[in-house]
Amino acid sequence: MKTVDNTVTARRTGSRFPLDGWERSLLALLLIEIIGFCIGIPGFYDGIGSLLGLTQNFIPFGLVALGLSVVILTGGIDLSVGSVAGLGAMVMAELWQGLHLSIWLSALIGVGSGAVLGWINGMIITRLNTEPLIATLATSFIYGSVGTALAGENPPSGFPDSFNALGQGEIANILPYQLILFVVLAIFFSLLMSRSAYGRKIVMVGYNVEAARYSGMRVGRVVCSAYVISGATAALAGIVLASYYSAVRPDMGDILLLTTITMVVLGGVSIFGGEGSIAGVVLAVLVLGVLRQGMLIAGFSDMVTTMVTGAILLAAIAIRNLMSGRGTGLALLFLRLRRLGGGKMPKAAE
């Protein structure tokens, strides 16, 4: 049973299995889902290669979710991930097409530009003392427009095949490059959040910003860094999408935002910050991604899959709240509202 102490830093003694109850449930759900789809949906299982290949259709969501988790752990939110993904990919494509830089160097600069955009978000939030919701909503419009302006009438497309392999290719026709990238980053983020001093700072800021400040932490800097990470992973996701489609469009990342917030929350990260784990988020990415692919292959329309995603999110939150041991229903809601009203917003660093 989960208690108020945060699950990121708390290392449960006596348990060798590094997942808590929520994550185990997600893992069980994922296994049931995959087995059920393999048996029940003709065309879903067509060899291990095609099963792993399905992940190519949703890994970019996972990449965004990793960075977004860090932001949400601090108690913030980044609504600009979609437009950062679009703009990051656009920067890469324009450098490649306009300045004839190598595509990989351009991709690196693209990720860097995402980090810079995230840094701008972070500075607006910490220095101008703005609500993350408003600040990143505003910058999402700005970044989106800049992307559209950069794109012009004929957005670049037709990247080199070596680059397209990142989004479309597999090692030995089995292991998609996208999946490898995601696994490596997921392990890195998981270690960063659960085993490093930096991870503890992030969680502490999210759990109790005042305590963090009184303990001498440079809160503004920590918060800002979370947005830098989120910007970089969003741009990386945009670049993977560019490779998958072998084309860029400024609105390419728009679909990312809402689904990734769903993934992060389903993964057990509290939307108010200070609680949650990367392992849960990774599992939630796989649960929702596989679910969507399975339903599409079963012939359900986009609309139905979106509806089911919403229903699962609601069910997950409800179950989580009921089982959280912190009271149920209204009592919990009041507790949360009080916490929200109690100055959760990190203020500018003194």
């Binding site: 003709p42 065309g43 879903f44 067509d46 095609s50 259709n57 794109a151 012009g152 009438e153 004929n154 957005p155 497309s157 037709g158 397209n164 479309q168 998958y244 489609y245 072998s246 084309a247 469009r249 390419m252 679909i255 969507r292 692919q293 599409l296 292959i297 079963a298 012939g299 329309s301 986009d302 609309m303 979106t306």
Partner: protein, 330 residues
């Protein structure tokens, strides 16, 4: 009166179908699965394609599926393609939201032996077997200009209201109409080009902006379904009916009220229902390998068509006006 006419048309159509069923030159022995993926589901022009496709599918022994994303997104279409590939459809037909973004998924389909037929808006030529083009670009450009020139006079100030700056088909039409305009009406000028993002409300706003910022404009060419409606609504809202004439390429249902009100005198399009039928004929023939990249073929009672390097031109523009618009219900 009108009802009896409609009934007569229906009977004629049914007779036509039964005649078509004797189309002995097409091998329909094996039942095949064909999907039609529009830019988005729920748009009436695409529903008209579907109507024709369903009728033709019944004759051609096709197990027909109409599916697509709920918003006009290329990514949504790719999701649908992926599922169709996994379900081993025989032919995928589609009108693309974006020619390049769809290409990798469709190439994957072709590699799996699935035939790809695009219609309306093309994808990259290497990502499809055949493309059914609505009308030839120069002819449609001419039809658009003529539809307003007759009423505004040859030296009018014209505004263009399109969908998005990177819409392939709209840009091709705009290029074609500029070429035709320069050659035929050298004194006609295009004062501004605006974009309504294929959204009715944004098109209305853009239409109002055009009219308020350019009081001399007497014609708006809006070669996009939502843009034409938006431009016509803007003209009506500002009380400029009879002073500013609108044309574009909407389906009859969307523009009927504006045609009757005189805001739109003429508006070119093509018969979307019959185009849907042709899509199914080409799908069947492509599956049978009974059609060449370059050559002629017969599509039942639709007649004979010519493929030129995979491109098939469906028809000449069909001009709607106040007299004939009620004959077309889509």
């Amino acid at each position: 009166m009108r009802n009896s006419k409609k009934a007569a048309l229906l009977v004629a159509a049914l007779l036509g179908f039964s005649v078509g069923a004797h189309a002995a030159d097409i091998d329909t022995s094996k039942r095949i699965r064909v999907a039609m993926v529009p830019k988005l589901i729920g748009l009436s022009v695409f529903k008209a394609n579907e109507k024709g496709a369903i009728a033709a599918a019944a004759k051609l022994n096709i197990n027909f599926l109409y599916t697509g994303p709920v918003t006009a997104s290329a990514q949504g279409q790719v999701d649908v393609f992926n599922s169709l590939i996994a379900r081993r459809f025989n032919v995928i037909t589609t009108t693309s939201n974006n020619p390049t973004e769809l290409a990798p998924a469709l190439r994957r389909a072709m590699k799996m032996g699935i035939k790809v037929v695009s219609y309306d808006s093309d994808v990259s030529p290497d990502a499809r077997d055949f493309f059914i083009q609505n009308t030839a670009y120069p002819e449609f450009g001419k039809a658009l200009v003529d539809s307003v020139a007759k009423y505004t006079g040859p030296d009018a100030k014209i505004a263009i209201l399109s969908s998005t700056p990177d819409a392939t088909i709209q840009n091709a039409w705009i290029d074609a109409l500029k070429t035709y305009m320069a050659a035929t009406y050298p004194k006609m000028t295009i004062v501004t080009t605006q974009y309504g993002q294929s959204s009715p409300s944004q098109s209305l706003t853009a239409g109002l902006n055009i009219l308020q910022a350019n009081p001399g404009v007497t014609g708006i060419i809006a070669p996009d379904g939502a843009a034409e409606v938006g431009a016509a609504a803007a003209v009506q809202k500002l009380g400029l009916t009879g002073k500013v004439f609108v044309t574009g390429c909407s389906d009859p249902d969307s523009i009927r009220q504006y045609v009757k009100a005189g805001v739109i005198k003429e508006s070119p399009l093509w018969d979307e229902v019959k185009e849907g039928e042709l899509v199914m004929y080409v799908a069947r023939l492509a599956y049978n390998n009974a059609i060449q990249k370059t050559g002629t073929f017969t599509a039942g009672d639709l007649g004979t068509f010519t493929a030129n390097d995979g491109v098939i031109i469906f028809s000449t523009p069909l001009i709607f006006n106040a007299e004939n618009i009620d004959q077309y219900q889509f």
